[in-house]
């Protein structure tokens, strides 16, 4: 039985075209970016092409910089450390504002900086699972060193109001950082209209192998490298030889994702909606985050009386790979579970299961998934007393 992979907000299958783009650097010899010989020229060509593609797809300005690193986690860390050393240690600024449900790389470094005496404010989410951008005004001052909000929440797929947040940041002249790992290739992204200072994303959600990330920086922004040892502009903020195969793959992957954004995401949305409709037929299923505020590929549900890990276990037996952030110790538990943070009943805290689709899924798979969920829910609820006797 073919397995159904619905964990695409974490890693995705490598696209054959992406594989073809990186293959020349995996088979046989490949050269360092700074090698003068012809093999080096081949690497430089691939690097330049990938860079062009990323500038083009992000609509980045000519004077902005884009550089490669090992992933969004490293890029995020670079931005935070650099802000800490450049702005906070020097006494120019004193606080950082982050969203409440950022990825772990940001939450952990924020917690660390907090332990170093930095004031960290967290903007809460509202009942729709989206950041309340007005609350940013409660915390922001001209002395704020950085505002960091993800463009899309990787757990729920909620699209954050980045344009509104960017406008507030402009008003106070505070740099804004966005982790766009779950946004690239899912929603339209134009850095000419959305004014960000830093943008980071990873390769693994774009049908490329994990291990490559991008850090975009608007012109005139300040940054210090986290990993030292760069020999040229390309390595200025991240030392060590670059992963040319990964960069070639990421360039191709970004191009494919953005080129096909319109029609492929429509297909994915249709499949997701079909699954959503089918799951809603089951009693006691709550979809978190309203349809209009969610990226096309994500569906997060809370199912009354069904524990997340138990459901994942049953689905796994049926060949369906789904995800949940609430399974201790393997989930990414973020202070409070999403249902509680959204103001829903606490009994839903341990019942969330997510399905993240990609262009490789099919309608037939959605049908099978819905059937599998139905069977699993029925089975797992047989372990619980009926609602009346609880």
């Amino acid at each position: 039985m073919q397995r159904i992979y619905l964990d695409n907000n974490r890693t995705t299958a490598v696209d054959p075209q992406v594989l073809a783009a990186m293959k020349p650097f995996l088979e046989g010899s490949y050269a360092d970016l700074h090698a003068l010989h012809s093999d080096g020229a081949r690497s430089r060509k691939a690097y330049n092409e990938a860079l062009e593609k990323i500038y083009a797809t992000l609509h980045a300005g000519e004077k902005d910089s884009v550089f490669f690193c090992s992933g969004a986690a490293e890029a995020n860390s670079t931005v935070f450390y650099s802000t800490y050393i450049n702005f906070i240690l020097s006494g120019r600024k004193n606080s950082i504002i982050i969203g409440e449900r950022e990825p772990l790389s940001i939450l952990q470094i924020a917690e660390f900086l907090e332990s170093q005496g930095v004031r960290v404010h967290r903007i809460p989410i509202n009942g729709d699972g989206v950041i309340e951008h007005e609350r940013l005004l409660d915390y922001i001052t001209p002395r704020t060193a950085l505002v960091s909000v993800s463009m899309v929440d990787g757990e729920s797929g909620a699209i954050e109001p980045i344009d509104e947040i960017a406008a507030i940041c402009r008003r106070f002249e505070v740099p804004l950082h966005c982790d766009a790992t779950h946004a690239v290739g899912k929603i339209a992204l134009d850095l000419q209209s959305t004014e960000l200072d830093y943008l980071t994303f990873s390769s693994e959600t774009l049908h490329a192998p994990a291990g490559t990330g991008v850090l975009y920086m608007r012109k005139d922004s300040e940054l210090l490298p986290l990993v030292w040892g760069g020999r040229s502009e390309a390595e200025a903020y991240r030392g060590g030889p670059l992963n040319i195969a990964g960069i070639a793959a990421l360039g191709k992957a970004v191009e494919l994702a953005v080129d096909s954004l319109e029609f492929e995401m429509e297909d994915v949305r249709d499949m997701r909606d079909m699954l959503e409709e089918r799951l809603k037929e089951i009693e006691g299923v709550h979809t978190l985050v309203p349809w209009a505020l969610r990226v096309p590929n994500t569906l997060l549900v809370a199912i009354e009386g069904v524990e997340s890990e138990a459901l994942l276990y049953e689905l796994d037996k049926e060949g369906v790979s789904a995800y949940s952030y609430t399974v201790y110790p393997y989930g990414e538990w973020i202070r409070t579970a999403l249902p509680e943070a959204m103001g829903l009943q606490r009994s839903l805290n341990h019942t969330t299961v997510g399905f993240a689709l990609s262009r490789y899924n099919s309608e037939e798979e959605m049908e099978r998934t819905a059937e599998a969920v139905k069977r699993a829910v029925e089975y797992l609820r047989s372990f619980m007393p009926s609602k009346e006797s609880l």
Partner: protein, 319 residues
């Protein structure tokens, strides 16, 4: 961090076969009703433990017959597959036991029964709390069967719904000496982490794990000093009285529980020194006396444990 911690073990694929089988095909789940109790001419008792809000909830049902033995035991639950496996094993073990016998099912026995191989722990340490959860539920069951009132306790970890008494008991029972250890055995402090220690940007609480750990460790240290009647010297240099105390302690800790689980027991009749060897004369009690394995497997197991824990020159002779 050590290699064993660095290895990615402890997810579904590395669970023992036994846990997998129990999680896939549990046999004792379901509800027991008054009709069932009538049919078995017994009394229906049920207890609840945990909560859906904190991720684990269980309701145990028992029917106690006229001999005060559990004639049937079932459960309903909300929780991960491992909890299902542990609860199913616990329900199986409770059958045909009296409350006093159920009380002897502790963490060590239950975990042991979930193992595939006696020397491989059933679960990674960060999932110990699941077995402990079932043991706590059984404790409440025993209290109810014996008609004991449970002491009220304040909740310390709100996310996982763990109270003060449970944490103190875990620190004592499992000799926990770190905050991580408390999380492993009770799940307290692992989710939001606000109950670990006081931090300036959260409202103050009555209890923090750090303080509880410090307090209980201090108490344990004082008790340990008062209690240590087993001298701290090699077994071969002990006198007969000291040897008897050391053997009794080892049997209590490592052997008796396993015999009791099968309805048996043992007693020491005599200890004699025989040159370099120490001969231990024992008598089997209950189901062990007359059991075919009493002179083979069980005997070798007893002797093996004593040899390993105390002295290789120890011989066990059943009478």
């Amino acid at each position: 961090m050590s290699k064993s911690e660095m290895l990615m073990n402890g997810c579904w694929e590395s669970y023992p076969f036994k846990i997998e089988m129990l999680a896939r095909k549990p046999k004792n789940q379901g509800e027991l009703r008054a009709e069932d109790a009538e049919k078995l001419e017994g009394e229906l008792v049920s207890v609840e433990y945990g909560s859906v809000e904190s991720g684990e909830w269980i309701r145990l049902y028992c029917i106690v017959d006229s001999d005060k033995r559990v004639a049937a035991c079932r459960y309903q639950l909300f929780g991960p597959p491992v909890l299902r496996a542990a609860a199913d094993m616990a329900a199986l073990l409770c059958r045909n036991k009296t409350a006093a016998e159920i009380e002897k099912i502790d963490y060590r026995n239950l975990e042991y029964f979930l193992r595939d191989h006696p020397s491989n722990p059933a679960l990674p340490s960060n999932r110990n709390y699941i077995v402990n959860f079932v043991v706590n539920a059984l404790e409440r069951m025993v209290d109810k069967l014996e008609g004991r009132e449970r002491e009220e306790s304040v909740q310390v970890c709100k996310c996982a719904g763990v109270d003060l008494l449970t944490i103190e008991k875990a620190i004592r029972d499992y000799d926990i000496d770190s905050i991580g250890g408390i999380g492993d055995y009770t799940k307290a402090g692992v989710l939001c982490g606000r109950c670990i220690s006081h931090s300036s940007n959260a409202p103050a609480r009555e209890h923090y794990l750090e303080d509880i750990l410090k307090k209980v460790r201090k108490e344990l240290l004082e008790e340990g000093k008062a209690k240590s009647d087993i001298p701290d010297k090699p077994f071969s240099q002990m006198n007969l009285e000291e040897k008897r105390a050391a053997i009794e302690a080892t049997i209590d800790e490592y052997i008796r529980a396993m015999l009791v689980m099968d309805g048996g027991d043992m007693e020491i009749i005599d200890i004699k020194e025989n040159g370099v060897n120490t001969d231990l004369y024992i008598r089997y009690l209950g189901a062990c006396s007359g059991c075919a394995s009493a002179s083979t497997g069980t005997l070798f197991a007893i002797e093996g444990i004593l040899k390993q824990k105390l002295d290789p020159n120890l011989r066990v002779l059943p009478l």
